[in-house]
């Protein structure tokens, strides 16, 4: 990585070479060709004979770095000159995906580059395929952050991401005998051409230590933070190229390093190994991305990670604020900080500490600045996913910060007590500090108290936040709560991943839709145009053929591109109900092989997703799906009309392959559990019809595409709550529904587990004996019925195509451009800088 960095700063001799792109010039075919030649020959020391596609990828990326960095510098200068307010998006995860193709699209250089590659005897697609996929996130939350950065830049908003430069991203998933195996994902082992290391802007971050109380010059109590250890946060920027290439923002990711001359005293004593052990321990902080849903998530390292990147970000924001010449009291006027979930909630405390301790601002003034600056996005209704940190650990790692938390809480509870005198139960519910059974710090409460805005990520979710998650806070501050329905960037999720459909749309509408997705509504009349429907179908068929080829290459399973592609791609979790999908496939298999009822049309069920390494039941569901695939695909009675594929190692690039090929989109979470979902938006935007529950953003998709163009089934969130109150409804369903009974029987009769009949007993127990918490069986019949309807409907190709086109045409609401405009207007008070 370092070697690449050096190459970007040319020597005088290099400046003189004609191969480089002229400053401030948009690269054309010739200049791009020259730059690629230059980097191949000089930077990478390769000849056209010895260069591999990986080398071309690197040379091309390096050639693009130059105009991208110039545009980034120009953007920064414009923002500085405008004295504009900036937003800083703090997120533990940025699932950015591959960058080269996206950057080429946004720069408008994709076709030029394809020509350059062709001139060199290469296929651009092959070159792009060699790029590693930075897996710096678990799923939706991280991908949302990446979509937001794209929209901020594309809309010319001064907005920047702050996060951690994990050495190992989320694990690489493989299957061994159908079981998930986790391998390390050392994504940047060969370096990445997009990182710009900013060593000179490193920050020293103290952790651990103790407080010693004393009086200061004015006789006031003055706690000193002593005996801390140091981490050094070294930033590296990844340019974020907005559509059109004019605005280039950055994502700043921090690596933890040991201080220079770290523990030299130990080293000098000759204990080299001990010195190195401590160095490794420090650098572990940015080593690994924690999987979500993990029991390990309570560990101290995760807490330190959260503080580390928040503290680095805060120092950087202050540095830039001062460098811009702004006054301290105007901090909130020029800076907005968005907390992506509670992971960065320590920013509330760090900002208070910085203002009060380092800048000598009074508590009241500091609190006003903090609340003016901070805004919090809630992403989950799952109680177990709401972060709480043990006070004992908090104090050990951040003693001064815990003191500040206690003071924030004391003042906050006084405010509540005045509003609700004598209501001790309310105080306990709302306190930032949970006292029983162990003292813990509730990070969601801290984030809410310290922010001027609290938003959910879909209309339904935002209502549930207010009514179920934190009703006391809503009662106290109703004006603070709002909704910002998530969105996805149409650049990556339509223009780049589905270039055939993008071309078809542009042919019909022009290319204005890429920056203004509301224009897609003009496609709707074309749903009645037979020629357009045919063209649309051909696009889908080609995308499916691409996926079929890759599926065969990766999994060995042959699938028919003419079959109905039914897709469920997301993290594996009980609430997302891949198990419901699997049970239904077992049901179809039984219908074909035992009841002699063929499907109206062939179906291919495609799964992709990872289970957290410690989530035993989710991993067993993966095994079940793989076993179903093995049985179904090998059974000649069924495999002409039914195929099942589990595409391994789900990540952004895999999603970009599967999304354009989907006919039916499975969004089947238990109602009330999915905050929003964004896969549902990507798939609808690419012309898949949704089968789903009234959950998360499905509700808004249903509203926009219309009830005729979506398959809604299952219990509502309210019905789920009511059903639970009735006790174990699953057992009743089991007794009453013979199809359900048969499927449950097949789970343990060896049909899908010939190696061990007891393998799936834990699943049966969860469904029947433990009350089927996520309502698989209660929703089964309706799900199967809607599936049957969808499958029949798919046979009417003309009508299906028309409805798919309507889904695309009405997807404008789900552009992250719309979401970002709402954040900018209603939360950040942010202006575009053009």
């Amino acid at each position: 990585m370092c070697a690449l960095k050096v190459l970007i700063a040319p020597t005088d001799n290099e400046e003189a070479m004609t191969s480089k792109i002229a400053p401030n010039a948009t690269p054309n075919r010739q200049s791009l060709q020259n730059a690629v030649d230059y980097h191949l020959e000089v930077t990478l020391a390769k000849t056209s004979q010895s260069a591999e596609p990986e080398d071309y990828h690197l040379a091309l990326a390096l050639a693009l770095r130059e105009p991208v960095i110039r545009a980034m510098n120009a953007t920064e200068a414009r923002v500085r000159q405008a004295g504009a307010k900036q937003v800083h998006y703090l997120s533990m995860e940025f699932l950015i995906g591959r960058l080269l193709a996206n950057n080429l699209r946004n720069l408008g250089l994709y076709d030029t580059c394809a020509e350059v590659a062709a001139d060199m005897g290469m296929s651009l697609a092959d070159v792009l395929e060699t790029e590693c996929d930075p897996a710096l996130g678990n799923g939706g939350l991280g991908r949302l952050a990446a979509c937001f950065l794209d929209s901020l830049a594309s809309l010319s908003y001064p907005g920047y991401g702050y996060g951690i430069n994990y050495q190992f991203g989320l694990f690489r998933q493989t299957f061994m005998n159908g079981f998930q195996r986790e391998q390390p994902d050392n994504w940047a082992v060969h370096g990445t051409p997009w990182h710009i290391e900013r060593r000179e802007q490193s920050s020293m971050i103290p952790i651990y230590g103790r407080l010693e109380g004393d009086l200061d010059f004015d006789g006031q109590y003055n706690p000193h933070w002593l005996d801390w250890n140091s981490l050094i946060g070294v930033p590296a920027d990844i340019p974020v190229v907005g559509y059109g290439g004019k605005c280039v923002n950055f994502l700043r990711l921090y690596t933890a390093r040991a201080p220079a001359e770290f523990d030299m005293a130990i080293f000098n004593d000759g204990d080299y190994l001990r010195a190195m052990e401590r160095q490794v321990a420090v650098e572990t902080v940015s080593k690994v991305l924690y999987p979500s849903d993990s029991a390990e998530a309570g560990r101290e390292l995760r807490f330190i990670q959260e503080y580390f990147f928040v503290a680095c970000a805060m120092r950087d924001i202050f540095r830039r604020h001062h460098a811009a010449g702004h006054r301290l009291e105007d901090f909130g006027r020029y800076n907005a900080i968005q907390l992506n979930d509670t992971h960065p909630a320590l920013a509330v405390v760090e900002l208070m500490r910085t203002l009060v301790d380092e800048q000598s601002v009074s508590w009241d003034a500091a609190w006003e600045i903090t609340r003016q600056t901070m805004a919090y996005t809630n992403h989950t209704l799952l109680p177990e996913a709401l972060e709480r940190w043990p006070a004992v650990m908090f104090e050990r790692v951040l003693p001064r910060h815990l003191e500040i938390v206690y003071e924030i809480n004391r003042r906050f509870l006084s405010e509540v007590a005045i509003r609700h005198p004598g209501d001790d139960a309310r105080l306990q519910r709302m306190s930032i500090v949970q006292e029983q059974p162990d003292k813990q710090i509730r990070m969601a409460h801290l984030a809410i108290v310290g922010s001027h805005s609290v938003n959910g990520v879909a209309q339904m979710h935002s209502e549930l936040v207010k009514s179920q998650l934190v009703p006391d806070f809503y009662d106290l501050w109703p004006g603070r709560f709002n909704n910002k329905t998530n969105g996805v960037t149409p650049r990556r999720w339509l223009l780049n991943c589905n270039h055939r459909l993008a071309a078809l749309i542009s042919e019909a509408l022009g290319s204005g839709w890429i920056a203004d997705l509301s224009q897609l509504i003009r496609l709707e009349p074309l749903a009645a145009d037979a020629a357009f429907r045919l063209a649309f179908r051909n696009v889908k068929l080609q995308n499916k053929a691409d996926l079929a080829r890759r599926t065969r290459a990766v999994t060995g399973v042959t699938v028919d591109a003419n079959s109905m592609f039914d897709v469920q791609i997301k993290r594996i979790h009980e609430y997302k109900r891949q198990l419901l999908n699997a049970l239904h496939i077992m049901h179809l298999y039984c219908r074909i092989t035992e009841d002699g009822c063929p499907l109206p049309t062939p179906k291919t069920f495609i799964f992709s997703g990872k289970a957290a390494p410690g989530y035993v039941l989710a991993k067993l569901i993966i095994k079940l799906i793989n076993n179903i695939a093995r049985v179904v695909n090998a059974d000649s009675r069924a495999n002409q009309s039914l195929r099942v594929v589990f595409y391994p190692d789900y990540k952004v690039s895999v999603a970009e392959l599967i999304v354009p090929a989907a006919d039916l989109s499975e969004q089947i979470s238990t109602a009330g559990y999915e905050a929003s979902g964004t896969g549902n938006m990507k798939l609808a935007m690419n012309g898949a019809l949704t089968i789903g529950t009234l959950d998360g953003a499905n509700v808004e998709i249903a509203r926009d595409v219309g009830s005729d163009n979506i398959y809604i089934f299952g219990l509502t969130a309210q019905q789920v709550i009511e059903r639970r109150l009735l006790g174990n409804a699953a057992r009743e369903v089991y007794e009453a529904n013979p199809h359900v009974r048969r499927v449950i029987t097949r789970l343990t009769d060896g049909t899908f587990s010939s190696e061990d009949r007891n393998l799936f007993v834990p699943i049966v127990n969860a469904l029947l004996d433990q009350g089927d918490f996520y309502m698989h069986l209660s929703d089964f019949a309706d799900y199967a019925q809607k599936h049957e309807l969808a499958t029949r409907d798919f046979c009417d190709v003309e009508n299906w195509s028309a409805r798919a086109i309507v889904n695309v045409a009405r997807s404008a609401h789900f552009s992250s451009d719309r979401t970002i405009r709402e954040y900018a207007r209603e939360i950040w008070d942010l202006q575009q800088v053009v």
Partner: protein, 109 residues
């Protein structure tokens, strides 16, 4: 570690001629200053103008020296660079340690 002593009236100005006050030299720095106090020096001006980095160990050494003097004398610090001041502010020690913009001011105070 290089320390340079310059008597100024009843003060002893001690200049730390190092770029870093960290774990490598913290113990010997503290020992050297305590030795001067034990020898009867009560008014010490510590000139840190060459120190651009101070870590927790370095800060601990300065705090120890200050405590060793207690109410018997005074420790004034001058030449505080931005890097050192950042650490003092971070730990709130800027409200306990007396810092001065110049050597003359530190002596005169």
């Amino acid at each position: 570690m290089l320390l340079e002593d310059v008597p100024e009236g009843d003060c002893l100005v001690v200049s730390l001629r190092e770029k870093r006050l960290d774990a490598v030299i913290a113990a010997s720095f503290k020992e050297a200053l305590v030795q001067r106090i034990e020898q009867g020096q009560r008014n010490i001006v510590l000139d840190m103008s060459e120190v651009s980095f101070m870590d927790s160990s370095g800060l601990g050494a300065v705090v120890s020296v200050m405590k060793h003097l207690g109410h018997k004398g005074r420790l004034h610090i001058c030449g505080v660079t931005p890097g050192v001041m950042a650490v003092l502010k971070l730990t709130r020690m800027d409200r306990v340690l007396k810092t001065f913009a110049s050597r003359q001011a530190a002596i005169a105070a």
